[in-house]
Amino acid sequence: MVKVKIFGVIRTTTGFSYLETDAKTVNGIFEVISWRMAQGYKEDKEELERMKNDPNVKYIKPKNPALEYHEKLQFKDAVVYVNGERCMRKGRKLTDGDEVWLLSPAAGG
C-alpha cells in the first residue's frame, strides 16, 4: 500500500488528510481521491458513514461541490513529493511502502 498525506488547500478542498491506497502511479492517487470526493458530494449518508469507519481514511467533512474558482484549478495540480523528494511526473510509478505528500503552492511571511 502507498501512504498518502495531504496538506494545504488540497486538504481543505478534498476533505482528506491521509489515506492508504494501492494506486500504482501518482495519477492513480488522484483518481482515488476524485472517486472519494465524488462520494462525498453525493452526501450519501451511508457512504459517508462507511468512509468515517474506514481506518484508512481520516475524514474531515463533506465538501460543497460548488468549488471556488481557484479550488478547481488546484486539485489535480498538487505539488507532489514521493519519499521526501519532489516529483514532477504524474505518471511516476509507485511501489508498496512509498509515502506520497500532496501539497499546494504557498507563500507568506
Binding site: 481543505t12 507532489v80 504524474k90 504557498a106 507563500a107 511571511g109
Partner: protein, 644 residues
Amino acid sequence: MTNLKGYMGKVLFVDLTKKTHSEFPWTDEDRKRTIGGKIMAADILLQHIKPGMKAFDEDNWLVITTGPLTRCKTPSSTRFNISTVSPLTGILTSSNCGGPFGRRLKKCGWDAMVITGKASELTWIEIVDDSVTFHDVPEMKGMLTGEINKQFKGGVSPLTIGPAGENKVLYAGVFSGERTAGRGGVGAVFGDKNLKLITAQGTKDPEIYDKEKLDKITEEWKMQLLRHPITGAQLSKLGTAGLVAPMQAHRILATKNFSDGRFDAFEKVSGEELTEKYLVGNGNCYSCPMRCERRVKVDGKNVKGPELETLGLFGPNILNDDIEKILRWNYELDELGMDTISCAGSIAFAMELQEKGMWDSGLEFGKTDNISDVFKLIAYREGIGDILADGTKRMSEKFGGKEFAIHAKGMELAAYEPRGAVGQGLGYATSNRGGCHLNAGYMVVLEGLGLNMNSYTAKGKASLSIMFQNTMEAASAAGCCVFTSYAVLPWFIVAKPTSMLTRIVQQVFKFITPILYIGMQYPDILALNIPLIQYPRAINAATGSKYTMGTFIKAGSYGYNVERVCNIILGLPVGKDTDTLPKRLTDEEQVPGNKKTKVPLDKMKRSYYIIRGWKDGAPTMRMIKRLGIKLPDCAKEVYPYGKG
C-alpha cells in the same frame, strides 16, 4: 501642501523634550521620488543621521510614515511604517504594520510624523486633526498592550508599547490594535523616549485624483488576488501557518537553531493542525481580501493566532511540538510587547549554548515548561532575561558561538532555513535591516514554495533577489502589504506546477540575469503599465502621478540604496563583512555529504553587487548619482567612495 491627490500633504514634527510640534518640510518632488512609507522614512533619516549616532541618542528620530494608498480601498493598503536607528542592529530599521494607526494618522491630515527628543515623564501624544497634546501618563507604566487598548473606545486605536518597550528590550515592538511593528526594536526607542502611546482622531480624507478609475483598478486587483492560488486560497484558508508543511517538504523549516531543515513532528505545529483544531475565525487588515489572520482562543479570549514565523521558531527551532503552548506564547509576547522572531531566535541560541556547555541558562531544547516565565524575565530585564533581551548577536559576543548565532547584521533570521533555498540566504545577508525574510526579497516563493526553481543553484538568484527586493520596497512604500506581490506571479503558472509552461518559466529564471540587469540599469525603458502589476496604476489613479512599471521599480531601487547609504553612515562595515551569514549556513552542509546544501554566499554576492552597482557592499558614486540620492555632507567623511 501638495498638488498631488492621495496624500494629505503635511508631515508632523514632534519634539518630546520641548513638548512642541510643527510641520516638517516635504515637497511634491520628495513625494514623487520616494512614493511614501519606508522609502520616505529612509530619505528623511538620510539627511538627519550622523556617523556614530545610536538608537538611544536623544536626537535619534522615529519616523512614522504612510503611503499614498493608505486610506484608499485598494487591497491591503492600510500599512504604515516606523523607521529609526535600531537598538538591535545599530543601523536603520524599518518596521511595517497593518494595524489601524496609519489610517487614523492620515485622517488627521498628516502623511507622516517625525518624533525627536525624550520626554521627562511617560507620555501619551494625542493627535486630533491639527492639534497635538502631550499628556503625562505615569499611571500607565507597566501596562500590557491589551490593557492600553482597553482604555480607548470609539475608533481610537492607540499605537503603544508594552513593558518590554519601556524596559528597552532590544527587540521590543510597537502595537496598533493586535498588529505589530515588530522588528528591529522600534518599541525600545519608544521606551527610551518615554513615549508610551500615540492616538490619532481626525475628520479628513485624502482627495482621489480619478476615483472611478481607482475603483475599477481596485476591483480588478481584488479579483487577481482572490483567483490566485496563494493569495486567494492558501493565505485565507490556512494563513501563513500553511507554510509549515511545504517548508518541511522542501527542507527549509528551521529546526534546532537552524541545524536542520526538517522536523519529524512538524504536523503537530502545522497550519493544518491550527486550522482544524484551534481556528475560530479569520481576520484581516482593512480592505484586505486575503484574510490571512488566524483567530484562536486563549483562556477563553478570542485573540490573534500565531504566524508561520512564530510557529516555526517556537516549534521546530526549539524542538517543541506542542502547538497549544505556541498559541499562548504568541499572545503573551504580544501583551508584553516583543517581536516573536527575535525572541524565539535568542532563546534557541541560548538553548544551543546550554547544550554545548557555554552558558548555563537553564534553557534546553525540547524543555518548554519554563518559557512563559522566561518571557517575563526578558520583558522586565531580570535574571537571564536581561541577557536574552539584548539578542543573539550580543549573546554570542559574550559567550562565544558566533558560527551558530543565527542573525544577519544583528537581527535574528526568520523561520526559513536558507541551506534549502540558497537565494533566500543571499536575501537574508543583503537585506538592509538584517535577517528579515521579506526585506530579503522572499526568494523562497520561487525556490520551492510557490514555484520550483532549483533552490540549490546560484544561477539567477542575485538578479531575481534584487528585482523582488526593489518591487517589495516600492509596494511597501505605497502602503501595501507585500503579500500582494505574490500575485504578480501569474496564477496559471503557480497553479500548475507540473505544466510545460511552468517548467519552461522555471528554467528561464536561471538565465534571466542579462534581461533583469538591463531592466534595472535602464528602468525608464519599461515605460508601460500592465494589469499584472497593479501598484503604479493604483498610485497614479489615487495621486495623479505618472509612474510606469520602470519608474516604480526604480523608486524601489532608490529606497534600497538610500537605506544602504544610511547603514554605511551609521557604521555598517564596507568590505567582506558587509553582508554575511553565520558559518553554520555557509560552511556546514545541511545534509552531511551533500555539498549543495550550504549557502554559496560569496559567489552570489559577487553577482549581486555587480548588478546593484555596488562595490564591497556600498553603492558606488555612479549609482548614487544615477538614482539622484542626495549624499549629506557628513557622509562624505565616512563614505568609502565619497570623493567619487
